[in-house]
Symmetry: C2
Subunit: 403 residues, 2 copies
């Protein structure tokens, strides 16, 4: 392996924002400043879309205060993009890279972004262009392969847990059926996280439905009826990617002319249609009067001022490690290995090949879903709880002995 080239570097943030994608950016910036091989570190404004338009800022000019403020701030400070570069698009990227003497490319994103880094890296190799391309994992969906978990998930999991802890108390105060539709596309990790804050036996969510398990409307309504008869109320968390028994998403069945993005993804978020449909079914079929449905929407990935400190720290480490790996290797994706769980929770960071992560998705594992397919297991709590950095305690007095 030849030594790391003396060249400029580009870092970009791609796909849906998270609460800690800026922490990874700051990790790249602070580590890059330590390596004289990296001359100027450019931030690509709006990811690949900005690169082809030659839209960069000089990240070396940020003060230490600005870096700390960035690390604490939600969403992509450089702007993002959902463009999926094809060969022509990549040719434009190379033109800009050559012009600016770019030898390092750091791309923070999900599996689509890992794929983008992979394509650009492969094309660079073919064109004999010396480029070191690294992917830094980021997704609230937590659906990347190889890594134990993804930066961004811990904070989003904390959001879901806090949301359902509050929503369950709200439902205790004013009982009825409450349905919450949760992000996560075709992976159920975030939906599973809604149950992390359960503290009492009868705490909700009482039912949790994952995209990994097809569920018929009959079972869905039957489950709700069972809980409602027992508790006089029922809180349900449903993944936006929930499928019927045949594997077709309910959202797809509902969708009429909905848009899809450049990656062929159907719009699942930013509409209340699925939640309202489900609430209507419960009202009509089960004759429950008070039925409410919320779609948590973009708050789940962007809410300001809420971060898991564990998540922030790990995201920053991932950014730093990407730069360290780039001094030794020509490409890779940064991954997290859990070396101890529970109260001794500890991780190590390692490098994997881009192709191991690109375009692939990891579903919620079977051992995290209960036998009925409508709840989580203790194994999931053990897996996810440390990532949240801890949850608040709540109080409910209505179960206390009557005076």
């Amino acid at each position: 392996m030849a030594g790391a080239p003396k060249a400029n570097a580009v870092v970009g943030q791609s796909g849906g924002p998270t609460a800690v994608i800026n922490a990874s950016l700051v990790g790249v910036i602070e580590e890059a400043s330590k390596h004289p091989e990296i001359e100027t570190l450019y931030g690509a404004v709006h990811a690949v879309a900005g690169i082809v338009k030659d839209e960069f800022i000089d990240l070396g000019k940020l003060s230490a205060d600005e870096l700390e403020q960035a690390a604490a701030s939600t969403c992509a400070a450089l702007g993002s993009s959902r463009d999926k570069p094809d060969e022509e698009y990549c040719a434009k990227i190379f033109d800009v890279f050559k012009k600016r003497n770019i030898g390092y490319f750091f791309y923070i994103g999900g599996n689509d972004s890992a794929n983008t880094a992979h394509i650009i890296n492969t094309m660079a190799a073919k064109a004999d262009y010396e480029l070191r391309a690294f992917h830094i994992p980021k997704t609230i969906d937590n659906d990347l392969l190889v890594t134990d978990h993804c930066p961004g998930f811990g904070t989003a999991a904390k959001f879901e847990a806090c949301a359902l802890m509050g929503d369950d108390l709200d439902n205790r105060a004013l009982p009825g059926v409450k349905i919450d539709v949760i992000m996560g596309r075709h992976a159920g990790f975030l939906t599973a996280a809604t149950a992390l804050g359960k503290q009492r036996d009868d705490d909700g969510p009482h039912l949790v439905y994952f995209p990994e398990r097809g569920v018929s409307m009959e079972k869905f309504l039957g489950d709700i009826e069972g809980v409602y008869k027992k508790l006089g109320r029922c809180v349900v968390a449903v993944s936006e990617g929930i499928c019927d028994s045949g594997g077709v998403t309910w959202a797809k069945k509902l969708a009429e002319g909905v848009e899809s993005d450049a990656h062929g993804n159907i719009q699942l978020s930013g509409t209340g249609a699925l939640a309202d449909f489900l609430a209507g079914q419960v009202k009509d079929k089960l004759k429950v009067k008070r039925v409410r449905a919320d779609t948590f929407g973009y708050l789940q990935r962007s809410f300001a001022g809420l971060q898991s400190d564990v998540d922030v720290r790990e995201a920053r480490w991932c950014g730093r490690h990407a730069v360290q790996y780039a001094m030794e290797e020509v490409s890779g994706s940064v991954a997290i290995k859990r070396v101890a769980g529970g109260k001794d929770y500890k991780i190590e960071i390692f490098r994997t090949e881009l192709k191991n992560v690109a375009e692939k998705t990891k579903p919620l594992p079977d051992e995290f879903i209960n036998a009925d397919g409508n709840g989580i297991t203790d194994a999931f709590v053990e897996y996810a709880m440390p990532l949240t950095g801890g949850l608040p305690k709540t109080c409910y007095l209505g179960n206390y002995p009557r005076a």
Copy 2:
């Protein structure tokens, strides 16, 4: 005025939960323990609905730790109710009050709850039943008369501000038109609070629509088009109670057979219909491709782990003062007076008559709404910011000079 009777007391929590309604409950509990006139303090489980079923817990049995956990916990720890007692209902309440020798009634809630306290108090006087009835203000809508602001609003305002700070950064990262539908029924305070976190000139929400100002679909779409042409994106906050120019709520126009509660209130929350309708209008009429709409729903009043410390403190004071006033007076509603603003923000608490608060609502004052009816004024920021206990700072780098 005769001295305070030696008797038992009841406290209840009514209407929609807030993040600090339990802080008021704890204020009542800790103050009641100091006054030997109050023998046993009962908590009514599910408010008046629990009283008529004789469902009480003994709040004197809670430990100091339990009290602190309750004060920090969102939602109504005793459970709530939306029942509106009529004469027959009140007769049942008196039966229970007599049986349990209740001489004090503390009711934490909004204007409907103040009215409930007022009715019960009036009926008690007629029946020559010695009862001291006090209302403790609570509503995220902030629409009570007399008081400067309502406990519960400060935290909800913080939630809205943090939500829109994040949502605006999300919209910067992936531009388009984003519409957020905000709670508050027919008062625009919460919707106005969405704009409290604006830090940069081009920060969103760029447009804010209040129930206090009728707006035509033409103006709504024209405003959005104007911002979108200038910035290439637009973030809009819309009150769930938004009306057309004729004063009819858009939700009512959309509603087909929606339920209304015992107070005649139409269901405005817990459905995404209004947001989806507005997004559809923007897509169809303005031909904007990326349009998203979120309805924030019950998260706004129940999210766990988020409190304004100012709000918690004031809510607790209001609870304490209600008990203090009950030692001197036979009825009243607790109210807040602002004696200093800005950095010197300071309040005092005083008593007002129940009838001054019962059933009445306060709209968002004219001086808090801009001339165009689509944004807030500096006066609103000055009014509301101290109540949030402070907001996080965010970071956006995409406006920095190009390198």
